[in-house]
């Protein structure tokens, strides 16, 4: 066994201290653990009634509505119970197959705050730090793509996600580009690298339980790539730590969104434009000129 103390400073070595502490695993006297199960059960019996999610069958709520899963334009009109059904939630996520994106269908109205003011777009929309387009391009290892139909953005932001840096291009409302009530801007294009198992951006979409669902999820394509158009009241969260099981990251209301992924980069276009215009805008993406963009695509 090696010495417990460093020869020079009289302290135990790190390894020996580690071993000694590991030996404490069963050596500390704790008070006996009280039996909490029955106490918790008694408390639950008198707690305010919370509607069990299991009582709201996915099938009775959703399938009778005649969903055509095989349809090319796949519109999922799923009932409320989907939000807590892990298997079905995974099924939706798998069907989307968009790295870095986590979609949940919920039946509670997301928190709706006031539209962002022009001076605080970056913070209220959770976009990160404002930068110039050239500065941003120099800071990210993939070419920033701009929608040719809109040209240069009014504002550019950079935020670090777990999968890599996210660039957000902000286009203020103008003729032909209406302001979205949820964001206060005309269009917001996020682009970021993400692995197949990562989920940096979560979006809760209100589907509701009434006779008509509030939201819709439509499968479309952008340049031959699968894409999804999600409408309805929703809430966006950018996760500080996607591996954490708790949710205390800031959220904000989200406008309709078009999602797709190309070359290891996930794109998220948030706008009040109708779907056809959003698709035109998405199809017009091209690398920004004069920003020192790097030629190679960024694959993970």
């Amino acid at each position: 066994m090696i010495s417990h103390r460093s020869p020079d400073d009289g302290q135990p070595t790190v390894d020996d201290l580690d071993a000694a502490l590991a030996g404490l695993r069963n050596a500390i006297a704790f008070p006996p653990t009280p039996e909490l199960g029955s106490a918790v059960s008694r408390a639950l019996a008198t707690a305010p009634v919370v509607a069990p999610r299991s009582a709201r069958s996915v099938f009775t709520l959703s399938w009778p509505r005649g969903i055509a899963l095989a349809s090319l334009a796949l519109v999922l009109l799923l009932g409320a119970a989907l939000s807590l059904s892990g298997d079905l939630r995974s099924a939706v996520a798998d069907r989307l197959g968009l790295p870095g994106i986590w979609i949940e269908l919920v039946d509670e109205t997301p928190t709706v705050g006031p539209p962002s003011s022009p001076t605080s777009i970056g913070s209220t929309l959770l976009l990160g730090e404002p930068m110039t387009l050239a500065q941003t391009q120099a800071a990210v290892p993939y070419p920033i793509r701009l929608p040719a139909t809109l040209g240069a953005p009014d504002e550019v932001y950079l935020r670090e996600l777990t999968g890599g840096p996210m660039v957000a291009l902000v286009y203020l409302a103008r003729p032909g580009l209406p302001s979205a009530a949820e964001t206060g801007v005309g269009a917001l294009l996020m682009q970021f690298p993400a692995g197949p198992d990562s989920a940096d951006i979560a979006k809760k979409v209100l589907f509701g339980e009434g006779p008509e669902p509030s939201g819709s999820l439509t499968e479309v394509d952008v340049d031959g790539q699968p894409a999804y158009w999600i409408t309805g009241a929703s809430e966006l969260t950018i996760l500080e730590d996607p591996s954490a099981s708790y949710r205390d990251d800031p959220s904000r209301p989200s406008a309709n969104v078009l999602l797709w992924a190309v070359g290891g980069i996930t794109y998220r276009l948030e706008t009040a434009l109708p779907l056809t215009d959003a698709l035109t805008l998405a199809a017009s993406l091209a690398p920004a000129e004069g920003t020192g963009s790097r030629p190679a695509l960024y694959y993970r």
Partner: protein
Amino acid sequence: MRASRGDAAAFEHLVLTHQDVAFRTAYLITGNPAEAEDAAQTGFLKAYLALCADRFRPGAPFRPWLLQIVANEARNRRAAAARRPALTLSALGDLPLPDPAPGPEAEAVASDRRGHLIDALNHLREEDRAVITYRYVLELSEAEMAAALCCRRGTVKSRLSRALGRLRGQLAGMDPSLTASHAGEDAR
């Protein structure tokens, strides 16, 4: 997770599975068994209600999230009591040694060693003692430690490293019999 669908029986099973670590985490914060029990019980109840209210990410590990809730409850109770915890760690008596036939002298040496180590832990400030006991005594994962300590996962390692450094300093300044005990152990 059945418990997330409002299945109280499934949740009671979760309580039985995690009540030890929840209670001990709370005890290390409050230093008081009754307050630790209240904190753990309230933590479980809040976890159940949060599950029903869709505040748990499906598929994510349950324990770190539970420990975060329980630790917050414990800290709130300690703050409400307006006092610092009077927790002092102590050793269980007559623990068997890993060596199958250590003999009474070796047992005494090992017991002495544990005693000095626990004594040194008790001399640490609360934050340092917490991160070390979470790691070595409760054997929490990094995510669980971050949840219980209410810090980011990235800072857990640095906090543990600094706490271990201060513990080494404590041990260096303690009874020289620690050296003797280990010299004896080294000689075996």
